[in-house]
Symmetry: D2
Subunit: 409 residues, 4 copies
């Protein structure tokens, strides 16, 4: 690989790989089966909590943390994006591994926001227990009643009223809100409708149990609820929290959201690459172990070509994500604006196609829950919408391209 | 349309359309919601049974029945494939409409088999109540332990023992087996391993409650169980039924299966075309009613192009299915062998793509159960595997193409 | 085929097929080779003229002529679009067959315009020798200096000055202008810049040798000049012709162009389907006659799947064109507006892909002139631009779709 | 870029870019126009030779040369594959730039073969004038009468007869053979039909003017002859050359060919990436400078999405080639076997699609010779066949993938 991780990262990568392959993957099918038949699938499973404890003990905990910046040193010195990327890929092989390592979205993004923009009080109250894994969090941005692909459509309100801020509105696809330990919601709402397009909204830290907060329902994606994490539709009715819960200040939400995007998308994309790799492995196992018309499946028709195309697609996608991580590390978000959108377009589509191929090779079983492929497909498909739909990201890439051309002209 | 239905069919089409649009579609979302929260989602819903009664009263019942053949006249004179196709398309707009009209798979195929190959006794015992809608049936062919894309891989056994036949083995994706009224299983098993490749297997009529028959579990496709119909994994352990339950005779299963294929695939494909039309309609509704970046969604980026491509794809696919129906009517299965496989490849892929486009235009909602799109996608995706995977059907098409060339050379 | 040609058409189809297969296809490679090495490739080849004479003698001449309308009966009663379509498909197998049968673009479209919109004098002077095959014609619409995908961009002028009309401007891709017998140019130019968007332009009949008309150069498409027909860049400098040469009247050009579109696009598309069929045949011949890695090429990797996909794509495309022809026949252009654009999008893309597949199966030879595949590809690719680019036609399809939805809503 | 070139390479890259952009690109259209109308397009153009002289003077000459190995030091110390890759990309922007820098295929590959496998005498006689640019060479491997995708099909013979070797057979697509300075043909022929599959063939250095060598014709690819280089069909009839002209020894041809593959494919692919970048630039220029329906073309329909997709595809492809170059540098061909095939599949397809998009945005002009796009498309399309068709390379990638899996299992 041309993008070499540091020695420190290499050591961690090795240990994460070992843990994922020997501790998590072998028990994952059983774990999901147990959740499916549980009386209350939203209750944390002890076997999962044990894995978390073990990972933490081994120091495989909060590895997503970025390189320390002035004022953050006390929370540890994390890895560069390029160093963390292969770890994210490995955790992507399993649906629970990110949680096991306390590296799952949206908590990672929320922790980064707090780390970067939180006051000491906000950090103490929310960041520390999140890093400690004792509480969970959700991010409440997307709304059911408007096209959220245009984030400025956001209609829920956050009105400052003296030393309080009053929240109203309805959010959905708030991931993680189903978990019993979810105690923090980061809410984004409209404060100043007359302000500049990107200075109208405010981000507010809201206790899950604040009066007026109600999880109306949990939403399935392709019939899947992702217990015990879940995606909620949450209503906010005259929710009052102290103005001190505002992040940075009124009207600063887009500014904060911006800083949250780059690494988060690299993480999502690297996890999908891990998932695509896993799907390709499963396809190879199935394709070499089953026989039809007198041949192993892989030797029938275009199957080998499809396997080759999957390998080529995965490799190209991974390199683009690593390049993006490297750009984020060396030039910041400004220098990686197009690339962050490029991976957001390229990787979920690639993963969706590779996983679809693996499903096809598995026959009916591929659609069932006997293999992690149906869940994997849903995960890839969802990311073509979550964090901005493909179309919006293509728009960003085209815009940068056109601007570059104008400069050159 | 160049493929004009007969006057009799046109009248029926009009009435089916009215019934689907005014009686079924308006209540469908509610019905599915009720099933999702039901204590026992496998119990037939009274509102659904009422719709059935009403459809039956209006004569919109068993419309799938083929044109009468000598010996079958007492079961009524049905429609040609070309005449029934638009009806199947209309019923495809809804997941319950085929059931409402007593036209759902696999019962339709099973009834055709009985109609065509059943003895008078078999017809009286099984066909009549099926036509009457008082019992349901399943078809037990695919097996979990072999690549069933090669049907000759089938390993479950049907051994004739005196005037009985003894069944052993495990089947899955037996659709409809979850319904409480399912009383008949058509089982396909290996009888003579040394016979000609296509004369080894036997088809047997098995009462659902025969000792040794066990529904091991119901299988989800993309996490969906399709209650109250379901797809079962069924074990057969020393199941003994009278040899009189054999269809036609030992070793005749492939011959029977063959006759079941053509119309069944036309039905499946026409239903998917109805589903794709519905997805396109939903995309248009959503695309014109939601706004982002100051424009209705349809006017953003490539959305209009995608709508055009969807229309073009649907129209082409429909014509190919109608052509196939017309060939089946005029030349029989032999004259439509390639076309039956062509539609099986073309239509599910088309539907999958159109539905995926509609999901994307719906944003996160498209993946939820607030719209029928996630279920529609699953339906289209499943049919790329059910009734033979794409790859096998492409093989048939290529074979016919090569044979034609050889004849011409 | 569900779209049955009439008995009269069937007889003609049989004879055209025989002529194409026994008279034209066997000599075509030689003919093209002779043109390539000719001193002047633009001179008509005697062997080609002999074929024309023979076709005419057999009555296989001007078969494109539409059904007679009042006032046109003296030019014969032609075929419906649906009846002519299979003939167009057959002629599409060869690059010279349309010319042999006097059925090639743009002469067919020009003759239709004259037939429908010409005065008796215009018909006598231009239509009769065109029908007689003694002269040829070109259509001068597209311009090099504007995006002609938006036809209202057209900037060349046609100014009425007393009883003359004065033409200025530059046109390109005027097909057929290279042929020595080309004597008529139909010129389209701006007359009234302030008129309604579609009432600004005028169509004028211009003798090829009028002073001020200059063929600046002949244009290659993918390096191919299509001798002896050619595509010209033509300048018009103060060209004066009698106002009697105006078709219908000033400002009526779009109205006339509209009537020319439907059948012309059906012809183009059916010819491409014939070309795609020929490419598939060549692929089958090559694929079964050459061996690599111990197998005939068709049995390697995904080749059979690609052949199946080609068959499926051709069949769907053909049905859509036949459906469009049938709609044109029964409902006129208004009733086939979307379909005409649908085939214009679907068919060239399909043909391009099928031919590309055939090229790939031929190896390096596929790109050379040893096979008609490189020329075929160019033909299909060109039609993604000629007569309106894909994007414009997708726009029409989407517009119709949206309008339909609004009506229904 | 994560794959940083060395300081030495960076300096060269800067100078090559300046030379390409200021000396070559501005005159290229004129140069091609002059070749098209030349009496003898196969004669070297003085303006091109002047550019060569200038490039050489500036030290921009033979930059393709690999890092020196023991025994080769006298021919200079070249660049690593990773360092040369960006230079190859820049030269790919122009069809003559590789020649200007004495870096064009097949001379580069032939020089590498001589450098690595030549005897001192062979080097003196052939390598030195090739490095000097005074002679040119061709590579004679592909044959018209067999499927050359399977190189072991090669049927031309190279029979050792005492101290001579006798060559018979017919080759085609021998690139460069049309150039008047072409004096060396590297011929590959069957010596020992009973040897091991990869030890049957021999590589022989043949003077262009040896008795019995005849260039039968020059071949067009998509009607393009690539003057003054050309692709020849060459017959060898009892051609006798000294056995000392054999490279390495009888039966060693595959072994030699193998070593020639990796870097050559990296060069080809990087040049195509340069060409795709150029096509994207042209698309942006056209798309922002022309207007239709009241908007710049880029703002119509899906055009911005297509531009974004092109950028994403180019970036992914470039990274995969750089990764491959880096693997070749650090692990040799063995360590890059799959990757070399991966880029051979991915890059030409990507370039073909990007260029096709650019053609479409240019309208009819895109197919003409007014823009380099038609030639660019041909170049990309040809590389899907040259140096092994896509299908063979997909086979290699799948094989490596399956082997990896078996090791892990």
């Amino acid at each position: 690989m041309g993008f070499e991780p540091s020695a420190r990262a290499q050591e961690l990568i090795g240990r994460v790989e070992l843990f994922v392959r020997t501790e998590i993957e072998p028990v994952e099918a059983e774990l999901h089966a147990a959740i499916r038949v549980a009386d209350d699938p939203w209750q944390p499973r002890p076997e999962l909590e044990d894995l978390r404890a073990k990972a933490r003990e081994l120091g495989l905990w909060n590895l997503f943390l970025p390189v320390a910046e002035p004022g953050n040193e006390q929370y540890g010195d994390g890895l560069s994006n390029l160093d963390y990327a292969p770890i994210a890929e490995l955790t992507g092989r399993s649906f629970v591994a990110p949680y096991v390592f306390n590296c799952n979205a949206p908590d990672t993004g929320n922790m980064e926001v707090l780390l970067r923009y939180g006051t000491p009080e906000q950090k103490q109250r929310w960041l520390e227990p999140l890093l400690d894994g004792t509480i969970r969090s959700a991010f409440c941005m997307t709304e059911p009643d408007v096209a959220s692909s245009d984030a400025t459509n956001m209609a829920a309100t956050a009105i400052v009223d003296g030393d309080e801020v009053v929240l109203n509105g309805r959010k959905w696809w708030s991931t993680g809100v189903g978990h019993p330990a979810c105690e923090l919601l980061i809410f984004m709402g409209l404060t100043d409708p007359d302000g500049h397009r990107y200075a109208r909204h405010t981000m507010v830290l809201v206790p899950r149990n604040a009066p007026g907060v109600k999880v109306e329902r949990l939403l399935p994606a392709m019939s899947r609820y992702d217990e015990p994490f879940g995606h909620g539709e949450v209503s906010f009715t005259d929710v009052r929290v102290p103005a001190a819960n505002i992040l940075v200040g009124p009207g600063r939400a887009f500014e904060i959201a911006q800083g949250r995007l780059g690494p988060g998308r690299v993480h999502h994309c690297m996890r999908l690459i891990g998932l695509a790799e896993k799907a390709l492995e499963l396809a190879l196992v199935r394709g070499t172990s089953r026989t039809a018309f007198g041949k192993p499946l892989v030797n029938l028709g275009g199957n080998r070509e499809r396997i080759a195309d999957a390998r080529i697609a995965i490799n190209q996608a991974r390199l683009l994500v690593l390049q993006t991580a490297w750009l984020l590390d060396t030039q910041g978000l400004e220098g990686a604006l197009s690339e962050v959108s490029q991976i957001k377009v390229a990787v979920p589509r690639m993963a969706q196609d590779v996983i679809d191929m693996a499903i096809q090779l598995h026959g009916g079983g591929g659609l069932s829950d006997d293999f992690p492929l149906a869940a994997a497909w849903t995960s890839a498909r969802s990311l073509r919408l979550a964090d901005g739909p493909d179309e919006v990201h293509r728009g960003v890439v085209a815009k940068v391209e056109l601007a570059k051309y104008k400069q050159e002209a």
